[in-house]
C-alpha cells in the first residue's frame, strides 16, 4: 500500500515542494521569510499526512494531519513571530556561512542523503524519495543550527529536523500510533515554549540573541 501512495504524482510534488521550502529557509537572510517558509513547510507536511490518511483509510492519521496543521503550521510560527516582535531583534540573520556556499552545501547534503538511502534496501524505490527528503531535512536542519548566529534560527533548525523525522516516520510506517504522535506533539510544543522563554531571558540579560556572544561566558 505504501508504494502506491508514495508513487503518485501528488506525493512526489508535495515532497519536492517541501524540499523547495527548505531551500527557501536556507537561502533567505530575513527572519520573517524563514518563519513563513517554515509555516509553508509544515502545511505541506500536513498535506502529506492527509494524502497518506486518504489512501490508507486510517482515520487516526487525519487527526495527526490536523494537529500538524494546527500546531506546526499556525501556532508555532505565530509564536515565533510574537517572539521576534517582543524582543525587537534586528530582522536580518547573521551568518557564519554565506548564502551561496550554504545553498551549495544544502545541495550536497541532498545528494548525500540520496546515496545514503540507496545503500539501504528500501521496499520500493518510490518511498526512497520521501526517505531521502526526510534525511535531507534532518541534515539541513542541523546545518542551519550550525551556520546561523541567531538563537531563533537554532530553534527553527530543531523544528526542521523534527519535520524531517515526521516525514520519515510517515513514509516508513504510515504514521506511528496516535498516542505516540500526540506525545511527540506536546513535547515539541513544550520545547518551543521553553526555548522561547529562554530567548526572552537571554535577550533581557545580554540585550542580544546573537549566540556567538555566548562565547563570552567562557572564563
Amino acid at each position: 500500500m505504501a508504494e502506491i501512495v508514495f508513487g503518485s504524482n501528488t506525493m512526489q510534488l508535495l515532497i519536492a515542494l517541501i524540499l523547495v521550502s527548505t531551500f527557501m529557509i536556507l537561502g533567505s537572510t530575513r527572519l520573517y521569510s524563514c518563519v513563513r517558509a517554515f509555516g509553508i513547510q509544515s502545511f505541506l507536511l500536513a498535506c502529506v499526512a492527509g494524502v497518506v490518511a486518504y489512501s490508507t483509510g486510517k482515520d487516526e492519521i487525519y487527526i495527526i494531519a490536523i494537529l500538524t496543521l494546527l500546531f506546526k503550521s499556525i501556532v508555532i510560527p505565530y509564536f515565533l513571530l510574537y517572539l521576534i516582535r517582543e524582543i525587537k531583534v534586528k530582522r536580518e540573520i547573521d551568518l557564519y556561512v554565506k548564502i551561496s556556499p550554504s545553498l551549495i552545501i544544502g545541495g550536497v547534503l541532498v545528494v548525500i542523503s540520496y546515496y545514503l538511502i540507496r545503500s539501504i534496501n528500501v521496499i520500493s524505490e518510490l518511498s526512497s524519495f520521501a526517505l531521502s527528503a526526510s534525511m535531507s531535512l534532518v541534515s539541513i536542519g542541523l546545518f542551519i543550527m550550525i551556520s546561523r548566529k541567531k538563537a531563533i534560527m537554532q530553534m527553527l533548525g530543531i523544528l526542521i529536523m523534527e519535520n524531517g523525522l515526521f516525514l520519515g516516520a510517515i513514509s516508513l510506517t504510515n504514521g506511528m500510533p496516535l498516542l505516540v504522535e500526540l506525545g511527540i506533539f506536546f513535547d515539541v510544543l513544550i520545547a518551543v515554549l521553553i526555548m522561547g522563554i529562554l530567548i526572552f531571558r537571554i535577550n533581557k540579560t545580554f540585550e542580544s540573541v546573537d549566540t556567538s556572544m555566548l562565547k563570552n561566558l567562557i572564563g
Partner: protein, 317 residues
Amino acid sequence: MIPALLSVILQIFIILALSPLLSGIIKKIKAFFQIRQGPSIFQPYYDIAKLLKKDSVISQNVSWIFHAAPIISFAAVMTAGLLIPIYITQLPLGFAGDLIAVVYLFALARFFTALASLDAGSSFGGMGGSREMFVAAMVEPALMLSIFAVALNVGSTNLSYISQTLSGMGLDALSPYQILAFVALFIIAIAETGRIPVDNPSTHLELTMIHEAMILEYSGKQLAIVELGAMVKQLLVYSLLANIFFPWGIASAESGIAALAIALVVYIIKIVIIGLTMAVVETSNAKWRLFRLPDLLSISLMFSFLALVSFIIVKGG
C-alpha cells in the same frame, strides 16, 4: 496545413506585434498594484513609432561597431525567435537549432550590445556592459542545468520535440522536477529580461542601471531597434517558459485554421499570466544590490540542481 514560408512570416509578424503589447501590459499591471493609472497598454508602440521618426545623434568616438551592433543583436534575437515554438509545434526552421542554440543566440545579441556600450568611451557604457555580462555569467550554470533537467525528461533539446511531447503527456507533465526547473528558469528569466530584483527597467539613476546604462548612447532609429529587440527577447523568454512547461493548447502542424487560432489565443493568455506573475514579483521586491545577485542566482542553481537530482531519484538509477 500552412506552407512553410507562410508559417515563418506569420511567426515573425506575431512576435513583432505582440512584444510591445506585452511590455505595455506588464507596465499597466505594475501601475495597478501601485494604485496609479499608468500608461496605456499600447504606449510602447507609440514610443517605437516616435523613435523611428527621430534623428540619431552619434558620439564622435564611435566606430562601425556602434552602428552595426543594434542590427546584429536584433537579427540574432529574431533568429532565435524562429527556433522557438509560439503557437505551433512544428517549426519549419526548427531543425536549424535547439534550446542550446537559442541560449547562445541570445548571448550573441548581448555580446554585441555590450561591445557597443564600450564604443562611446563613457563610463556609463563600460559599467553597464560589465554588469550585463556579469549577470549573464551568473545565470549560465543554472540555465544549463535547467536545460539538462528538461531535456533528459523528454530525451532531446529540440524545442519542437519538447513542446510536442509534453503537450501530449497531459497533466503528467507537471512532475516535481518540471516544477523545480520552472522555478529555476523563472528566476533566470528575471535576470535575462532585466526586471526587479536584478535590474530596474525604469530607473533613471545610472548607479542602479544595468541594461539601460548599456544603451545610454543610442538615440532615434537605432534606439527604436534596440528597445524593440529587448521587448522581443522578453517575449521569447516568456514563450520558452510557457511552451516548455505548460505546452497544452499548442497546435500541431496538421491542425486546421480553427486550431491555430485557438492556439494563438491560448498562447496570448499564457504569456499574459506569466507577465502578471512577473509584475507581482517586481512589485513585491526591491532591486537587489549588484553583489547580492550571485545569491539569487545560487538559489536558481539549487532549484535546477534539485530538479535534476529528483529526476534521477524518481526515475531510478
